[in-house]
């Protein structure tokens, strides 16, 4: 068994997994309709068309990958339908029950295909990370950096969810075959480590059997790790198995690792060995409000209500309906939302399983949150700075290394929705960053424009001089005619450089602040004007407050600029006195 490491923090959570892990994966009956989000691309089918299973419906869905018909039937409509989080154009497919496949070429042994062919096939199959990330797999499998370790994620650390557990018990051989394909695509990494939590003995046994049964030349290690949330987080699992930390803001490939979920590897195997696009996935339907919790092999586009009904969903008992687990899931408002590639769990919880959230109380800085944070952050300090909107302190406290795992909020004795605060703060900081980038961009454009104008002016002056046949001194004199007293171009360039560079840092900084504030004012004014009657009062007030703040910032910068000692352009160094 290979060496393992630990990650800081983490939690022992009640697993609640037995309810759904006991029964084999069921194949859901065909639903009355399938709802297939099409994305922005024009559909390749029209209303009324008959389609076959595996037929291409659109070249690129919302994830940029092709959309296929999960079964045969006819297209009843192409219309806006609500999905779990967005409303977008969807094809509505009425299955005919015949499950007629589109004509496919006989599968080619993947061993005989070249890597570019295989990658193209992965892309064509529409495979994304099925663990919840949804990142296109063909991109992940073509890393820009050398990979020495392939990490297979079979952890499934969030309570209630058992989709990967059941899949490993039932399809271990196919998963192992998928691992070998992924390894080949990654240039045969030195190590292949399969991470499993110790609460899945059957899955571990099945995977071990599958490993010993196949005689690959590649050595794979199954590593059983203690169940500790969020051990299944990509970054945490990589640290557990390799001791390496993915750099902040970086990717696993930066430390020579690629991490893929078992469900994704199963889909990879189906796609490459059987030429089957991704048409279905395993979804856990569980929770106390379901009489028969189970895992389903559900066609993409299946309305969630259909799966819930199959599991004996009792709406009168259900207090919380969640898409995903209790730690990172999102409330599901619309039961008709379709199963997508990233739908791994639907949780119907009763009020006793999940009591309604208490009213938050004051933070007493007890530090329990810091003890459980897997990213070694100080959640209580982050909260303080998030409430104060102190963005500099938020970045100093590494807000963006927060992985939204929710461990802090889970243990908080004051019941503070910490993760909500961080989400808002992250959005704010991102918006401000974007604003700054836009302002910088505008400033650069303005400077380039001024330089260009000056150059044209100079050229015109030179032409004049040529035409008049006068000396260079006169040309300069004519260039600075009294009507447009433009400074000499070199001076302008110099000024622009000074503004941009470190020559007069204080002035440049203030000018940047001023132009940023002016940009912000303009933006906010348009936004405020664009608000219609339906906009909430808090949104309107928020915009007004930000506008007032921007005006204050602008005034301050302007006043400070005026207060700066005036420098003559000729003093090249331009040091403020």
């Amino acid at each position: 068994m290979s060496q393992t490491w630990t990650f800081p923090g983490g939690l022992l959570l009640p697993a609640h997994k037995h309810a759904s892990s006991a029964t084999p994966i069921r194949t859901a009956a065909l639903p009355p309709e399938l709802i297939l989000p099409l994305g922005a691309a024009a559909p390749l089918i029209a209303v009324g068309d008959s389609v076959l299973k595996g037929q291409l419906l659109a070249a690129a869905g919302s994830d940029g990958l092709p959309v296929y018909a999960p079964t045969s039937g006819h297209v009843a409509g192409i219309e806006f339908r609500p999905q779990a989080e967005v409303v977008g154009p969807c094809a509505v497919l009425i299955p005919d029950g015949a499950e007629r496949w589109i004509e496919r070429a006989a599968p080619v042994d993947p061993a005989t295909r070249t890597l570019p062919e295989l990658l193209a096939a992965v892309r064509a199959a529409g495979i994304v990370g099925l663990g919840g990330g949804g990142f296109p797999t063909h991109i992940k499998l073509a890393p820009a950096q050398p990979i020495d370790t392939l990490v297979v994620n079979g952890m499934e650390c969030e309570p209630y969810i058992t989709a990967d557990d059941r899949l490993m018990r039932e399809e271990a051989a196919a998963i192992v075959a998928g691992v070998r394909l992924a390894a080949r695509l990654l240039g045969d990494p030195v190590r292949i480590l399969i991470g499993l939590e110790d609460d899945k003995p059957q899955a571990t046994a099945a995977m071990t059997t599958a490993l010993t049964a196949t005689d690959g030349n590649q050595k794979m290690d199954i590593v059983v790790l203690p169940s500790r949330y969020p051990a299944g987080g990509e970054r945490q699992l990589i640290q557990l198995l390799t001791g390496r930390q993915v750099p902040s803001g970086g990717l696993p490939q930066d430390v020579g690792v690629i991490c893929i979920n078992v469900g994704t590897l199963y889909a990879l195997h189906r796609a490459l060995a059987f030429d089957e696009p991704l048409l279905s996935r395993i979804v856990t339907i569980t929770g106390g409000a379901c009489r028969e919790p189970a895992n389903y092999r559900a066609l993409l586009g299946t309305p969630i209500a259909h799966l819930l009904a199959a599991s004996g969903y009792q709406p009168e008992l259900c207090e919380h309906l969640l898409l995903g687990g209790p730690m990172m899931g999102t409330p599901l408002a619309n039961l008709q939302a379709p199963v997508t590639k990233t739908t791994h769990c639907v949780l119907a919880l009763t009020a006793t399983e999940l009591p309604p959230p208490r009213d938050p109380q004051a933070c007493i800085r007890c530090g329990l949150c810091a003890d459980v944070c897997p990213a070694s952050l100080l959640p209580h300090q982050l909260l303080r700075h998030a409430v104060a909107r102190d963005h500099r302190q938020l970045e100093r406290h590494h807000l963006f290394d927060c992985i939204d795992c929710g461990a802090c909020a889970y243990v908080c004795p004051s019941a503070i929705p910490l993760v909500d605060h961080y989400r808002v703060a992250k959005a704010e900081v991102r918006a401000l960053r974007a604003e700054r980038v836009a302002a910088d961009h505008a400033r650069r454009r303005f400077e380039a424009h001024q330089t260009r104008v000056a150059r044209q002016h100079e050229e015109r002056g030179a032409r004049h001089a040529e035409l008049l046949g006068t000396s260079g001194v006169d040309a300069n004199a004519s260039a600075s005619d009294p009507v447009t007293p433009a400074p000499v171009a070199t001076d302008l360039v110099q000024q622009a450089r000074e503004r941009a560079g470190a020559a007069t840092p204080r002035r440049a900084q203030l000018e940047r602040a001023l132009s940023a504030a002016e940009n912000r004012i303009a933006q906010l004014e348009t936004q405020l004007a664009a608000l219609d009657a339906t906009a909430t009062e808090s949104r309107r007030n928020g915009l007004r407050a930000r506008l007032a703040q921007a005006r204050l910032d602008g005034d301050l910068a302007r006043r400070r600029l005026h207060a700066l000692p005036v420098e003559s352009p000729s003093t090249g160094d331009g040091n403020p006195q």
């Binding site: 004051a362 800085r365 007890c366 530090g367 909020a409």
Partner: protein, 351 residues
Amino acid sequence: MIPGAPHAHSGLTTGAVMQRVLVAMLPGIAALLWYFGPGTLIQIVLAGSAALAAEALVLRLRRLPLEPTLADGSALVTGVLIGVALPPLAPWWLAVTGSAIAILIAKHPYGGLGYNLFNPAMVAYAALLVSFPDALSQWSGPRPLLPEGAPPGLVDALQRIFGGHDTAPDGFTMATPLELFRENSGLLVQQFYTTHPLLARGDLAGVGWETVNLGFLAGGIYLLARRVITWHAPVAMLAALVLLALLCNDGGSSASQGPPSLHLFSGATMLGAFFIVTDPVTTAASKRGRLLCGLLTGVLVFAIRAWGGYPDGVAFAVLLMNLAVPLIDRVTVPRAYGQPTRRRHHEKAPE
């Protein structure tokens, strides 16, 4: 704000945390009651109810709901800490004034629970100590040393506490081990320990006092086991005390500052280490910060005891450290997952 993930919660409440703190104080309080009589209980009741009343008053003035904040027990903990710190037979208005100072001056003007810069109980104790130094030094002697063989009973204690000045503590009053040691001159530590009955009849740091400290130590271990506090601040503080005591212990001359056992098990050492320095609101945020905080508190406690104007220095040391916490928090932000290590950071810096 729409409540988002996580939806699950451990069920732990602030009230439960405070309850554990109160439970953890029981062994120390029991030792106080046994050795120094029921006066401490009266002080706890007085200070506790005054703290709750003051809290209710402020909440009413601030137009905040009473129930959730009173029920979380934080004001009660402050009151109990004050009650424990006061001499058992101190007049009643000391406890009431102390609680009022803690809640009305040290806690709410800063924003209430979670926002106070200074530990309220320690602000109250320090304020009382500088305002009424005599009343605060009237500790009665421990049970085995009293001529009657027992501290005053409940009725007697009530009379003394509520009776006014004319029945001020008399024959019961006795110097604490730390006070004794301050006044020591010309005796080797060894001699001192054998000649004075308070120390001679104890094993570590004076009969009674050492048991009280052991009681608070036991409570502290309970808090550690229940993960209410972390080991960093207490261990650092006690380690600093032991180290400095060893460093200044010149083989036990009369000029030495007392053996480590004296510093560990007398005065407010254990109460301070496990119940005051660990106060989450006023201590540093990170583990490294808490280590630093505890360490410096220990240094200050020793310095005040050895070279300062007061026999014990926990309250002043804690308040001085509270002042330094914002700065400590700034320089002890832990390295987050995936952030460059310090070495790599330095290598990158010249770019």
